[in-house]
């Protein structure tokens, strides 16, 4: 089991990074301002430059065009043959494989895998050298992209959670509204997921977000299943409480007391097949919220109010 763990974890990371490898462009991760060598430079001089500037490779250009690439290996090669007075042109890899700066990083990864080159000159669309790319550049680029993603989410969360502190008024509240269509089972729960995510971003505890999520999800499914034309979900978020409301224009509930009983349901067989209509919706809601009020009439439709208090001291005592 342990070995599988490691390889799975490894695979997970690859998957995330792979996504980024498609999003990031080569010109975002490459090293710019490349130092390039003249082809007629002596290998001796190239060695000095490499030592001085701590290079492990550099492109060779002639009339502004890349004609080759010289690596440390080429220098070793020349040293072995004792031909340090030969020119760079004699030892460089001519006509090297290049990549386009506007291509996704994954293209460069493929090229690295296919060619076994350690570095690739990066060209713009006109064939001019704009940078050089090593596998190290890609690793660094991916790591900083991962860090940027992380910070971006942190920032959103931070800004959202300080919303109520930053904006001062006599009574500040944030209202979210969602129109729910009758019979829209495919998107059913979509609004509730968004509400839950919003609450978490606003700094609600996972427990509060879960309670609100369950209550509002059951209410959303009720609008989808039981109404004539769907209805509206309205969530008002205040620093001390969350008020959720689900309302529709019909057909209304004949016997509210009966509807509140665990297991009582008017749902059709089709709806039960979909996993709903067990007669637990309103019961679930009641258990999740601090206050619940169901008002319904055949003429006006149904209004369901649900309140969750965020501060324990303001919570009314259990009845």
């Amino acid at each position: 089991m342990k070995q599988i763990d490691i390889s799975d974890e490894y695979a997970e990371n690859i998957t995330r990074v792979e996504e980024l490898a498609y999003e990031l462009r080569i010109n975002e991760v490459m090293t710019e301002n490349v130092f390039s060598l003249e082809p007629d430079l002596k290998m001796e001089e190239a060695l000095d430059i490499f030592q001085d500037k701590r290079f492990s490779g550099a492109p060779v250009t002639e009339h502004d065009k890349v004609i080759g690439i010289l690596s440390i290996e080429d220098l070793i090669h020349a040293l072995r043959e004792n031909r340090m007075d030969a020119t760079v042109r004699d030892f460089m890899t001519a006509n090297p494989t290049t990549v386009r700066g506007s291509d996704p990083v994954v293209e460069a990864l493929k090229t690295f895998a296919l060619t076994k080159f350690g570095r690739l000159p990066v060209m713009d669309k006109d064939g001019n050298l704009i940078g050089i790319l090593t596998k190290g550049d890609i690793s660094n680029g991916l790591l900083s992209a991962l860090q940027r993603d992380y910070h971006a989410e942190e920032l959103i969360r931070y800004r959202a959670s300080h919303l109520f502190e930053d904006i001062v008024s006599g009574r500040t509240s944030l209202i979210l509204r969602y129109d729910i269509r009758k019979g829209d089972f495919i998107r059913g729960g979509n609004a509730s997921s968004k509400i839950k995510r919003a609450l978490l971003r606003l700094g609600a505890s996972p427990q509060i977000a879960r309670r609100c999520g369950i209550a509002v999800y059951e209410a959303e499914m009720n609008l989808i299943i039981h109404t004539d034309h769907g209805g509206t979900l309205r969530v008002e978020i205040e620093p001390h409480k969350i008020t959720m409301e689900a309302y529709d224009d019909g057909p209304g509930i004949e016997d509210v007391e009966l509807a509140m009983k665990a297991g009582y349901s008017t749902a059709t067989h089709e709806i039960r097949e979909m996993g709903f209509g067990a007669g637990m919706g309103l019961v679930n809601i009641k258990r999740c919220v601090d206050e619940m009020r169901l008002v319904s009439s055949i003429e006006r439709g149904t209004n369901l109010y649900m309140i969750i208090y965020l501060n324990d001291s303001e919570q009314p005592s259990e009845d």
Binding site: M1, I4, D5, D8, E9, A11, E12, T15, R16, F185, I186, G188, G189, N190, S192, S193, K196, P206, Q207, R210, R211, G213, I214, Y217, E218, M221, A262, M274, G275, F276, G277, A278, G279, M280, G281, V283, N284, R287, C288
Partner: protein, 123 residues
């Protein structure tokens, strides 16, 4: 229990991409009625179910469910898989029946994360 152990034990296949965070599963519940799941499942559980529609994934998002196992070789529709990938909820399919899959996981030491009565609170 982690996701790969869960897949091995249920002889299952993962239908979604690998989740981005380490997916530690603390318990399990088996049910087909989503209202029952919402009422009774504790957070961080795996849900074993024969229901294959997107509502299962929605329920998972709302109720902090870590993974879903579809039993009896039932294959969810593409909408369900799409949504699961969006919400980062791993989906697993197995040919095992609900009872057997639950039994295997229970025997492997995974506790029940289903509340025994309505008086208990998941919240």
């Amino acid at each position: 229990m982690n996701l790969s152990e869960l897949i091995t034990l249920t002889k299952g296949n993962l239908l979604t991409k690998k989740p981005s965070d380490d997916c530690e599963i603390s318990g399990a519940m088996g049910a087909d009625l989503m209202s029952d799941v919402l009422a009774s499942i504790k957070p961080e559980a795996v849900l074993l179910t024969g229901l294959c529609n997107p509502q299962v994934v929605r329920t998972a998002t709302i109720a902090d469910i870590r993974a879903i196992v579809f039993v009896r070789g039932k294959y969810p529709d593409p909408d369900t898989v799409l949504l699961a990938n969006e919400e980062n909820i791993p989906l697993i399919i197995t040919d095992l029946g609900l009872f057997e899959a639950c039994g295997i996981l229970y025997q492997a030491g995974l506790p029940s994360y289903e509340l025994k009565s309505q008086e208990d609170s998941v919240l």
